[in-house]
């Protein structure tokens, strides 16, 4: 039966294919450069300019620059990828103008890659083929296929430096399979996926593919693994290969400003599926089956929320994308909005269709100018292509959206406050119930979902709710993106299946604590979250387990703290944040956070008594139980969880007047060691208050009354003679 939506989608993909074919990029050398706020800060725009100059100077028309978003490998930016047709792509890290010249003259012009600049030493071993075995539950069921393959390679004396065997998170290829047992294997750089049942199949691959260089057609599957494009480009980098990219599958691959590229990567197929079925309930059921829980922090089942909105008799309904990412230390939403805006958009349109919304709003922080620009561009392009506006994709259903800017109020991340802000009011929360799904924006039923929640929707529709659910845990399906930062070797955006132990994220992907210091705690959930002590690092990341130890999943900030961090100081930092951001509407939060902060100030300045600790705890519980909105209720979490796990540090501050991490300035004193000081006068010259006295070649002395404890002397002394006590 002909369906207007299917016809529309076919015409759209045909048009895109023709246009991309005209560009003829497949035969060209592609220089891929990241373009997002963080990449720009690291200097990617200079790199882009330099490459453009080099291309012009060389006169080559078969080399093009491809702008993409950010992959989330923050500490190694700017990252540049070079793809020469027929060869595996090479990525370079921390590229500057000088390295651009080397890459261009040696790699692009002469075909000799530069291992010394390769991302994470990924060029140290180059393999002719890499076989990536799917690690999904279903594929793993068979067990031992990877091991048999490795054994087979050894038997046939295939050199180890020629073929590499590795594993990766679930491909999603199994979602349509109903019969038989098999495992899936992706071969790089051939871009082929095989369905392998047994030893015979493995032998066939070895004979045909490795020896003969021919693709084994009978074993080949046409369905594309969910993050194949991502594997193709990045699977040789350990930071990425341990991740499972669903929400961020296109980040760093697609040009975030090109609708055509998004469509060529399977974009808008999910929307076409949803619209062509003509049944919003089917969409809601798939999302329910997926057990997708809100990624903004609350963890409410998305399908359930949508269902509630549809049960309302009022037909004017709204959908809102919450991009007011105010949590200090979190940047996944910015990453997705800047790097893959269309996928967030498609998810949102599907959500709007499911709840029958007529209008959608993006609420984005004004501090994210690039994200705003890219979303606006995406809205314009979608509107022009008939993907938004009157009769979306020819379905007869009208839907449009617009951007509303935040203005730097953390509380606006709370849904009722966000609604007030869109209405043009001060962003102060309201009492719930009624929940926004009943009475929200302008009194109409409203669904508010997080950016990452929407980014997962297309994958659920394309690969099925059941598949999505089995990626995660019993309680919650799918993956979660974390912004890994703090004292960790590799910072960046990390997407792992829910249920992954914290340890695997921090040590496996993050590479462990910076400077190999001891891990003290992991903080999740930002100012509303809590601390998880190092002793609990095997805890699985999921909504339930995190809540059990006094933290929350939150929106996905993950800050690694080492032995050099003071838990009291960090708790004070979070509290000062919520205190400043408290909207002032309800007393427990407004006054409670202020009083708690005063107590924390006393503790860190050595003026507190043990009674204060009880007061602090009582106030914290009061604030937690009686505040109006989530901000106030969660504000004491850092205090309560640090009191629970690190009470001895508080006691040390109060009783012994000691800060073991040497972070609390008032409790630290600087002294010059007479044995080590050679009298070079450097410390005295750098002291801002002239507190250090002593002649040349004589031992110096710090006058404790004048010392402001700025630590300058400690940093400038080349003989380690200044001691911090």
């Amino acid at each position: 039966m002909p369906n207007p939506v299917t016809d529309f989608f076919e015409a759209l993909t045909d048009r895109t294919r023709t246009r991309l074919a005209e560009r003829g990029d497949a035969q060209k050398t592609i220089i891929q450069i990241g373009s997002a706020t963080c990449e720009h800060a690291a200097g990617s725009q200079d790199v882009l300019e330099e490459f453009t100059k080099h291309i012009q100077a060389s006169g080559r028309d078969d080399v093009i620059v491809h702008k993409t978003g950010c992959t989330g490998r923050c500490s190694k930016e700017p990252i540049v990828g070079i793809s020469i047709p027929g060869r595996p792509p090479v990525k370079y890290e921390r590229v500057n103008r000088e390295i651009v010249h080397k890459i261009f003259t040696q790699h692009i012009q002469k075909g000799a890659p530069l291992p010394e600049h390769a991302l994470d030493n990924s060029l140290d071993h180059q393999y002719a083929f890499e076989f990536v075995f799917c690690q999904g539950l279903r594929c793993n069921h068979l067990g031992g296929l990877k091991e048999s393959f490795e054994q087979l390679l050894r038997q046939h004396k295939i050199p180890e430096d020629q073929v590499r065997v590795s594993t990766h998170g679930c491909f999603g290829t199994c979602s349509e399979e109903s019969v038989g047992q098999a495992a899936f294997v992706l071969v790089r750089p051939s871009k082929v996926v095989y369905r392998v049942k047994d030893q015979t199949d493995l032998e066939l691959i070895l004979r045909e593919h490795i020896r003969g260089g021919r693709i084994v057609e009978p074993l080949r599957v046409t369905r594309k693994p969910i993050s194949q494009d991502f594997f193709d480009l990045y699977a040789d980098v350990s930071f990425f290969s341990a991740q499972n990219r669903i929400a961020m599958r296109n980040s760093g691959i697609v040009n975030p400003e090109s609708l055509e590229e998004y469509i060529s990567l399977g974009g808008f197929k999910a929307l076409a599926t949803a619209l062509s079925k003509g049944d919003p309930e089917w969409v809601i059921n798939e999302v329910l089956k997926a057990r997708l829980r809100g990624r903004g922090g609350g963890g409410f089942l998305t399908g359930q929320k949508w269902k509630l909105a549809t049960q309302n008799e009022e037909k004017t309904r709204y959908i809102i994308c919450n991009g007011d990412e105010g949590d200090p230390g979190a940047f996944m939403d910015r990453g997705m909005l800047e790097s893959d805006p269309f996928s967030v958009m498609e998810g949102m349109i599907i959500g709007a269709y499911a709840i029958g919304a007529c209008k959608g709003f993006y609420y984005i922080r004004a501090e994210y100018p690039l994200a705003i620009k890219r979303i606006q561009n995406a809205i314009d392009l979608c509107r022009a292509a008939g993907l938004l506006g009157k009769s979306v994709m020819g379905s007869g259903w009208d839907f449009d959206m617009e951007i509303r800017l935040g203005a730097g109020a953390f509380v606006c991340g709370e849904e009722t406050a966000l609604i007030r802000s869109i209405e043009g009011e001060r962003g102060q929360p309201k009492v719930r119930p009624p929940f926004p799904t009943t009475r929200g924006l302008w009194g109409k039923p409203t669904c508010i979902n997080n950016v990452e929640t929407f980014a997962n929707i297309t994958a659920i529709i394309n690969y099925g709710g059941d598949w999505f659910a089995q990626v995660g845990t019993e309680e919650s399906g799918g993956t979660k993106v974390f912004a890994l930062a703090g004292k960790v070797k590799h910072t960046g955006l990390v997407e792992v299946p829910l249920g992954t132990p914290l340890r695997d994220v921090v040590f496996g992907i993050g590479g462990g604590v910076q400077d190999d210091k001891a891990l003290k705690a992991i903080q999740t959930g930002g100012p509303a979250g809590g601390f998880i002590p190092a002793s609990m690092d095997t805890l699985p990341v999921d909504f339930g387990p995190l809540a059990k130890v006094g933290s929350i999943m939150g929106s996905g900030g993950m800050i690694v703290l080492s032995e050099e961090d003071c838990m009291v100081d960090i708790s004070k930092f979070y509290l000062s944040f919520t205190q400043e951001e408290s909207c002032g509407k309800c007393t427990p939060c407004r006054e409670g956070t202020t009083r708690m902060l005063e107590i924390m100030e006393r503790i860190t300045s050595g003026k507190a008594v043990m009674e204060d600790l009880d007061k602090l705890e009582r106030l914290a519980r009061l604030c937690q139980q009686t505040s109006l909105c989530g901000l106030g209720r969660a504000a004491p979490n850092p205090i309560l969880s640090s009191l629970k796990h690190f009470r001895d540090e508080y006691t040390e501050h109060i009783v012994d007047k000691v800060c073991r991490a040497k972070k609390c300035v008032a409790l630290v004193r600087y002294e010059v060691s007479p044995d080590l000081c050679i009298g070079c006068t450097v410390c005295a010259r750098n002291c801002p208050t002239e507190a250090i006295s002593g002649n040349r070649k004589e031992v110096h002395v710090i006058d404790q009354n004048r010392c402001v404890k700025c630590g300058q002397c400690y940093e400038v002394c080349r003989f380690d003679a200044v001691e911090r006590k």
Partner: protein, 181 residues
Amino acid sequence: MNHQTSTTDNWDAVRAACLEILPEHIVAFIEQNQDLEHSEGQLIATLHMVQAHFGFLGRDKMHAVAQLAQVPLAKVTGVATFYHYFRLQPRGKHIINVCLGTACYVKGADKLSQRLMDDLGIQFGETTKDGVFSLDSTRCLGTCGLAPVVMVDDQVYGPVTPGEISIILEKYSRREKSSRL
């Protein structure tokens, strides 16, 4: 609820007075919104435009917005003071924002702040006497991977050490000096 544009008999005079304060495109934006449903929801967007144009929201400007949009001045001021992003005072030519997000904080943003305050001789929220720099703190710029970071106007610098502060400041003050010559 829809606001009528002309509720007073001296509307032309009011409008002319507002046009002297606000640039045309903002006046056009407000007037065009008046005809839409839920026009009061555009107040924050309007204030964003005013701030983008003038760098801050002065009393006269807020008054003009209130007049044109036909909302009480108290509401405009209420909204303007609620959100941290809006400024009520004129700013320096270059705005320095120290990120005080968690990642920057654990990596020493407090030391950067101290150094900036010492070097510029001002506190957070203040502007130098010559009007070149304003110093501010911000909650997470979302570039945690580069922590600690300092943002001058739209340019993000990171990771920055206290020693590099003077080099960054020098870059801008030199540009200022040469443009004055």
